[in-house]
């Protein structure tokens, strides 16, 4: 059951249920943070991670072979008197398996409105090639 702070209460019953579901999801292993989505085309992979409230210097992005690693930490003021605490606190380390080899040097990462977007161009040597077969 939700512990409702004495000053701010969840007014909407549906919102309370959603919050409870979110809290259950929160108990999954720490590798599930942050939420990540990936899109691929023949030329690149785009990975988006939700990291609201994070600054770029709090996030590390590393590419090794077919694995993209996003890690970092959010610390908080330990003295704070919380009435409700749902946001992620502590270290996170998420690995995303990439479907092809990428050119790590040409990768670009940017953080906009709490979304980390990493664009990973496919390694030229890894791209599928069309081979013309001469007909005799």
């Amino acid at each position: 059951m939700l512990t409702l702070p004495h000053l701010l209460r969840i007014a909407h019953p549906a919102a309370a249920i959603h919050t409870e579901i979110d809290r259950l999801v929160d108990r999954w292993p720490s590798t599930a943070y942050p939420p990540v989505g990936m899109w691929t085309s023949t030329d690149e992979a785009v990975v988006r991670a939700e990291l609201p409230g994070f600054a770029l210097d709090q996030i590390e992005v590393e590419v090794r072979e077919h694995t993209l690693r996003i890690s970092g930490e959010r610390t908080t003021d330990g003295e704070r008197e919380y009435l409700r605490r749902e946001r992620w606190i502590g270290r996170f380390d998420r690995r995303v398996h990439l479907p092809f080899a990428v050119d790590a040097d040409a990768a670009q990462a940017r953080l906009t409105d709490g979304i980390l977007e990493i664009r990973l161009p496919r390694l030229e040597a890894d791209k599928p090639r069309k081979i013309e077969i001469a007909v005799q």
Binding site: L8, I10, A11, H12, E50, G53, Y82, R87, D113, G114
Partner: protein, 122 residues
């Protein structure tokens, strides 16, 4: 911003509504609530206070990456409701959106001090 990312400008009904995660904690002036709204720009955030009901509504926009058909990332709506007690001064609420994190500052209402009401005698 790379040119391949096409941000769709058309307004579409968001497909999914999420409850943003929130932290609420005490500060000297009252309370602060921080709500996670990743992908939300300030123009797409609406906060209303009606009597004691504080509502935060926001949405993200769909994105289509080059080489994909249709939207790569669908638009998403965020909605969360709070009820404020008398201890909070609703007129003094301040909101700031930064890096997909909304910070609401909720100042304490000045407590009415008990006082003696003089009775005019004619």
């Amino acid at each position: 911003m790379t040119t391949e990312a096409i941000q769709t400008t058309e307004e579409k009904r968001p497909l999914q509504t999420r409850t943003p995660r929130a932290d609420i904690y005490a500060v000297e002036a009252g309370y602060q609530a921080q709500l996670e709204l990743p992908g939300v720009a300030a123009d797409d955030l609406h906060i209303t206070l009606e009597h004691s009901a504080l509502t935060v509504r926001a949405h993200t926009r769909a994105i289509r990456y080059a080489g994909s058909e249709g939207n790569s990332v669908e638009a998403l709506a965020y909605e969360r409701h709070f009820r404020l007690s008398d201890a909070i001064d609703g007129t003094g609420i301040q909101a700031e959106l930064k890096d997909g994190l909304l910070t609401l500052t909720l100042p304490k209402a000045e407590r009415a001090q008990p006082r003696t009401i003089p009775v005019a005698l004619n």
